[in-house]
């Protein structure tokens, strides 16, 4: 299994921590799903939320602070620096948003911020599109993990460009990659893992489900099933029907 900056995860599910009905339900979702990475937003949550941060710390999982809501490289860099102090980790999920409605990444700001943060000792998880050229540039800039989107944040559309994601996966076989954003159903998570991605990260699909705890478990099972299937070398689809039982010797006339 590919490692995330030297950390191997027992469970390929990463969960966000926003929008749950209550912290008690959030906690239960983590415990029952076994998710072992929690993203936290400095700007919107934990800035002054010591009590909330204590709850996240109490989960005993890896904290992955993010720069959600930043619209420029400079803003994202400042937020990352604050997050490093507050959360005592070099990990940063780098979001530089380019468009307020689709929350699509700004590739240029993302590259600039990745370069600056990697040079400053951060372990950057850039939230990016499936663009292969951008991926190469982000890796050149010092990122050792990529977080390509499935679909726009919060949209629940699943893997919007399977071809592009497949190509990206094939182009950088050694780079750990997390499908981040846009997953709506456990089947999307299984799909991503079957394609050989290393983990999935989601928030809305779990936090805003009618039963977030059950949905978190469903995502964990699906992600694990997908990972298992990928490792088991799945068959390729065929154009002709092939019998699983030999037909020779049967009265087929």
């Amino acid at each position: 299994m590919r490692e995330f900056y030297g950390v191997s995860l027992a469970n390929p599910l990463m969960l966000g921590t926003a929008q749950y009905p209550s912290p008690a339900i959030l906690e239960d979702a983590f415990r029952q799903s076994g998710a072992c990475v929690a993203t936290v937003s400095l700007r919107r949550e934990a800035g002054q939320g010591q009590a909330f941060w204590d709850i996240i710390r109490g989960l005993g999982v890896h904290a992955l602070p993010n720069t959600a809501g930043c619209y420029s490289a400079r803003e994202a860099i400042t937020t990352a620096q604050m997050a490093r102090e507050l959360f005592e980790t070099n990990w940063i999920k780098l979001e530089v948003i380019g468009h307020a409605d689709t929350l699509q990444p700004d590739p240029f700001g993302l590259l600039a911020a990745t370069e600056a943060l990697a040079a400053d000792g951060f372990e950057v998880f850039p939230y990016t599109t499936e663009d292969q050229v951008l991926a190469a540039r982000l890796l050149d800039a010092g990122a050792k993990v990529l977080m390509p989107w499935g679909a726009p944040i919060g949209s629940g559309l699943g893997l919007n460009n399977r071809y592009g994601l497949k190509t990206l996966r094939a182009a950088f076989p050694d780079v750990p990659m997390v499908i981040d954003a846009g997953l709506g159903l456990p089947s999307h998570a299984a799909d991503a893992m079957e394609m050989g991605f290393d983990a999935v990260l989601l928030n809305t699909a779990v936090a805003q489900a009618g039963d977030p705890v059950a949905m978190a478990r469903a995502f964990a099972m699906a992600a694990q099933a997908g990972a298992l299937a990928h490792a088991a070398d799945p068959m390729a689809p065929r154009d002709m029907a092939a019998p699983s039982t030999p037909v020779v010797g049967k009265a087929w006339l």
Binding site: P21, S22, A24, A46, Q48, G49, A51, F52, G154, G210
Partner: protein
């Protein structure tokens, strides 16, 4: 049981003092700031008595107990029994379907012209006819007057339970600093928009910027409320104003012409499950964690605290520490 002291004259403490007086007791009532005002989070509430709507995200205890709140408050202050409405912009109609799946006590409405003419352009809405609303500041002041008429006046003193002998109801909110209690920041606005005549609370569902608007007398509207996991007590952020006003503008463009009278921000005390509690520690009962359900849940919390004090009955909101 004649010497009960209530500390804290926010919605929880006042309701507790009222419930004690209903039980024939005359508690002592103290608050370090005296009468209710902008120092307490009860001041900044919306005043919706909307247990069914809250059920979209809150635990069943809130829906069950909250249904009794409107009758409780009607004995004390003016309660508007006009129901409440939930709408979504056309792009977000999936949010309305989801809200409907997770709540009860509503009627789907396809023609709003009879209920709220101004929202008639919304092709679909949910109407919760049994819900109600009140003006929180008026409710506080009516409750203070009613208590005064029963010989219960607010003493302006900074006391903690340790300063007092005898049974204590501690309703100090965030000041009580109890284990597991956290602050959830909320920000609100008050607008004067005399052109707009909404008669009942309206919730606008939105994937990112949900909004509710509660009408008050004289063309005033309360817009709320953000919900941030933060202990930040500073004033309203520019972002919150932008988000709340944009959502209001999307609901009715005439809000753009409104006068922005007031902004407010404070912390809602909450426990991890967002359900309020009476925590019993010896002779002290801590009433806290009302989260966004102060006016909705304070009556039930007060009644359970008083029942525990007077009869030993332990309701579902009572936790013996």
């Amino acid at each position: 049981m004649t010497n009960v002291t209530v500390i804290g004259a926010g919605v929880a403490g006042l309701c507790a003092a009222y419930a004690l007086s209903q039980a024939g007791l005359t508690p002592r009532l103290v608050d370090r700031n005296g009468a209710p005002g902008s120092h307490g989070c009860s001041w900044w509430a919306g005043g919706m008595l909307a247990p069914f709507c809250e059920g979209a995200t809150a635990e069943p205890a809130i829906v069950t107990h909250g249904q009794k709140a409107a009758a409780f408050w009607a004995e004390i202050t003016e309660v508007h029994h006009r129901g409440s409405l939930v709408v979504a912009l056309e792009r977000d109609r999936g949010e309305l379907d989801r809200f409907a799946r997770r709540t009860s006590g509503y009627e789907p409405v396809s023609d709003l012209s009879a209920l709220e003419q101004e929202l008639a352009h919304h092709p679909r809405a949910l109407f919760f006819p049994s819900e109600a609303h009140l003006d929180p500041r008026r409710a506080l002041s009516d409750l203070v007057s009613l208590l005064a008429s029963r010989g219960i006046a607010i003493e302006c003193r900074a006391l903690t339970p340790g300063d007092i002998s005898g049974p204590v109801i501690d309703a100090r909110g965030m000041v009580a600093d109890l284990p597991g209690l956290r602050g959830v920041r909320g920000e609100m606005l008050v607008l004067h928009a005399p052109e707009i005549t909404l008669a009942r609370p309206v919730r606008l569902l939105h994937p990112r910027h949900p909004l509710y608007i509660v009408p008050r007398a004289d063309g005033l509207f309360m817009l709320g409320a953000t919900q941030l996991e933060s202990n930040d007590r500073r004033g309203v952020s520019a972002r919150a104003v932008l988000e709340l006003l944009s959502a209001a503008y999307a609901l009715d463009p005439r809000f753009a012409e409104a006068e922005l009278l007031e902004t407010g921000a404070d912390l809602r005390p909450a426990y991890a499950d967002n359900i309020p509690r009476v925590t019993v520690r010896g002779r002290v009962l801590h009433l806290n964690g009302l989260f966004r359900h102060g006016y909705l849940m304070a009556p039930a919390l007060a009644e359970q605290a008083v029942a525990y004090l007077t009869t030993g009955i332990k309701g579902d909101l009572v936790h013996e520490d």
